[in-house]
């Protein structure tokens, strides 16, 4: 793409109809690019809806996969839904408080030099491929102890931490300084100002960030492959052992040779997609609401 400035030739030598035509062509291409991007989304959502809806029934969520040679392909994925619920819940319990504390430290306490180092670390952490996080947790917990729901939760928490910290930092920056100063001027201790004056202002933003992070990691497959994928078909909720999850189930069913497995993969993909689209919508709605509230309070 040419990025040099406007030359005299552009303005004079080239005649106006031609410049207008170029402009129209480029505008058309930009419309096309946006249409293609949306087309991708529509294509995927439509295929998943079409192929998943016919397979969708309560059995998917309430029954475990049928076992035995003759029953192959039957049953539901209750064990996977239970596992995803447990693993994501524990991951949130780890990442949410840690992420908030990191953000509080960076915005409220840290000197500028420390802040730039730690936020670079958060950016780097955010850029580490999910599969490498999986390898890391495999080396940290799984080797010698075996797979477990906890290991998968820790892996997902590593992915959530930078997201939660980043979104909390953004809302903390929106809290007006006058609020902090007013509280401190009244003689309120710094820690109480931070925890009971500043932090409550940011709840909306933190919830938004957390919901988005949950939506993101609930669909993650790569970190779970090495930490909690060698499972049976029984339904259980104990994170001391490996738990089946929805993304891993979709992954395995998609590679299977049995068409009935594909059908269940599409149905599970539809449920996962609905969950993620709904949570993102809710998060976006919360975000505009809390941002409006903060900007009017300023």
């Amino acid at each position: 793409m040419s990025t040099h400035g406007i030359t005299r030739a552009d303005m004079h030598a080239v005649n106006l109809p031609r410049r207008r035509a170029t402009n129209r062509l480029m505008e058309g291409l930009a419309w096309l690019a946006a249409a293609i991007a949306i087309g991708f989304l529509v294509l995927i959502v439509w295929s998943v809806a079409q192929k998943g809806a016919s397979q969708l029934n309560l059995d998917l969520i309430t029954k475990t996969p049928a076992t035995g040679f003759l029953a192959a392909g039957g049953g539901g994925l209750a064990n996977a839904f239970a596992g995803t619920l447990v693993i994501v819940a524990i991951a949130t319990l780890i990442a949410l408080p840690t992420g908030i504390l990191v953000a509080l430290y960076l915005i409220e306490f840290a000197p500028a030099s420390v802040r730039s180092v730690v936020s670079l670390a958060l950016d780097v952490l955010n850029g580490v491929p999910a599969i490498v996080i999986g390898i890391f947790v495999y080396g940290l917990f799984v080797l010698g102890h075996g797979q477990s729901g906890y290991a998968a939760s820790f892996a997902l928490a590593c992915l959530m931490l930078p997201l939660v910290a980043r979104s909390t930092m953004e809302v903390l920056l929106l809290v007006p300084n006058s609020l902090r100063e007013a509280s401190l001027a009244l003689g309120v201790a710094r820690w109480r100002t931070t925890l009971s004056i500043v932090l409550p202002q940011t709840i909306g933003g933190i919830v938004t960030g957390t919901v988005l992070a949950v939506a993101r990691v609930a669909g993650e497959t790569a970190p779970i492959l090495f930490t909690s994928s060698l499972v049976g078909t029984a339904l259980h909720w104990d994170p001391h052992h490996a738990l089946q999850t929805v993304p891993v189930a979709i992954f395995e069913l998609s590679e299977s040779a049995d068409p009935q497995d594909h059908a269940r993969a599409w149905a599970a993909a539809l449920v996962l997609l609905l969950f993620i689209l709904l949570t993102s919508l809710i998060a976006r709605w919360l975000a505009t609401r809390s941002r409006r509230k903060l900007s009017t309070s300023r």
């Binding site: 406007i6 504390l101 509080l104 430290y105 950016d123 952490l125 201790a189 790569a222 993620i276 993102s280």
Partner: protein
């Protein structure tokens, strides 16, 4: 705060400086520990991955990168990363080449062209594309995209551009590096476009209006004002997109078909670094294979570190020069 804290000494010397409170220390300590832990986590990841790869590093050294072999058969094991590095380079560079104009075009549409009522909904729709899990995109890639590409697109490209080695004989199933490239394009497009959109929004209005007032067409304004202004940021966004494409494992594993060997035919199967690791999750045949897989992960980690750090370096340099908070625009 109770009045009991106003000790006589404090009333006598009201400007004696800030008192150190236990609560302040505690909160600062706990929050500081969390920040230290987050930073340490990066180093812990690097250390654990290096540790896991060490036997393979000791055995193969840097030659691992140039060896084009992956033989897990016990007794004649031999491992090397070359064919996966090649697959990664081909798929992610091509995906970036496809995604970059689309993402920049979509961002221009959203900031300059779209009617005001369309801007917010179209922006959210494109961001929604980024929220679709890779395993779902992969599932779609296997059963919908792959067959379409194999039956319609690949034969057309082969007959038109068959003289270029990239467009060799089409495959039959749709499992190919080409399908992986298209899937990666879809995955990095929303990331690059949402960052470039924020960059374009940050271009000062008076510059844009100044150019238009001088009689430029809209495209000339984009070329002469917006692109030069946002150049650094666009470059950073492309690096981040490339990093994402290099690290994507699941969707690529599902659609690329797997296989070892360097070949130029896009329509044939292959593997990337990330997809090789993901497809071997059910256990390596030997310890050496496992260490070699982790060595592949180490190469990925190095790439992702380079991408994140160079992108941040560019962003910070641009922010310093332009004095605006580019980094707040979702580059995190």
């Amino acid at each position: 705060v109770s009045s009991a804290e106003l000790t006589p000494e404090a009333t006598r010397r009201p400007f004696a400086g800030r008192r150190v409170r236990f609560g302040d220390l505690l909160l600062q300590l706990v929050a500081g520990l969390a920040a230290a832990a987050a930073t340490a986590l990066v180093f812990l990841i690097a250390w654990k991955v290096v540790e896991g790869a060490r036997p393979a590093i000791v055995r193969y050294g840097l030659h691992f990168i140039t060896r084009d072999v992956w033989n897990p058969v016990v007794g004649r094991e031999a491992f090397g990363a070359a064919s996966f590095l090649f697959g990664t380079a081909v798929t992610s560079l091509l995906a970036l080449a496809l995604a970059a104009p689309l993402a920049i075009g979509a961002a221009l549409f959203l900031t300059e062209l779209a009617p005001r009522v369309l801007r917010a909904p179209v922006t959210s729709l494109i961001e929604t594309l980024a929220a679709i899990p890779s395993v779902v995109i992969g599932l779609w890639g296997i059963y919908v995209l792959g067959p379409i590409l194999a039956q319609h697109v690949e034969p057309a490209l082969h007959s038109a551009f068959g003289f270029i080695p990239l467009f060799g004989p089409p495959g039959s199933t749709g499992s190919s590096l080409f399908t992986a490239t298209v899937v990666l394009t879809m995955m990095i497009l929303p990331i690059v476009s949402s960052i470039t959109r924020e960059l374009f929004l940050g271009v000062p209005r008076e510059l844009k209006e100044g150019a238009l007032a001088l009689g430029t067409t809209r495209w000339e304004m984009v070329r002469g004002v917006i692109f030069p202004y946002a150049r650094g940021g666009i470059f950073a966004a492309l690096i981040l997109g490339l990093g994402r494409a290099i690290g994507e494992a699941i969707a690529v594993t599902q659609v690329s078909g797997g296989g070892v060997g360097i070949h130029w035919n896009l329509f044939s199967t292959g593997d990337t670094l990330a997809s090789k690791i993901a497809s071997s999750y059910q256990g390596a045949a030997t310890n050496l294979e496992e260490h070699s897989l982790i060595y592949l992960g180490l190469i990925l980690l190095v790439f992702s570190l380079l991408a994140s750090i160079s992108a941040q370096w560019i962003v910070r340099r641009v922010a310093r020069r332009q004095g605006v908070g580019l980094s707040r625009g979702g580059l995190g």
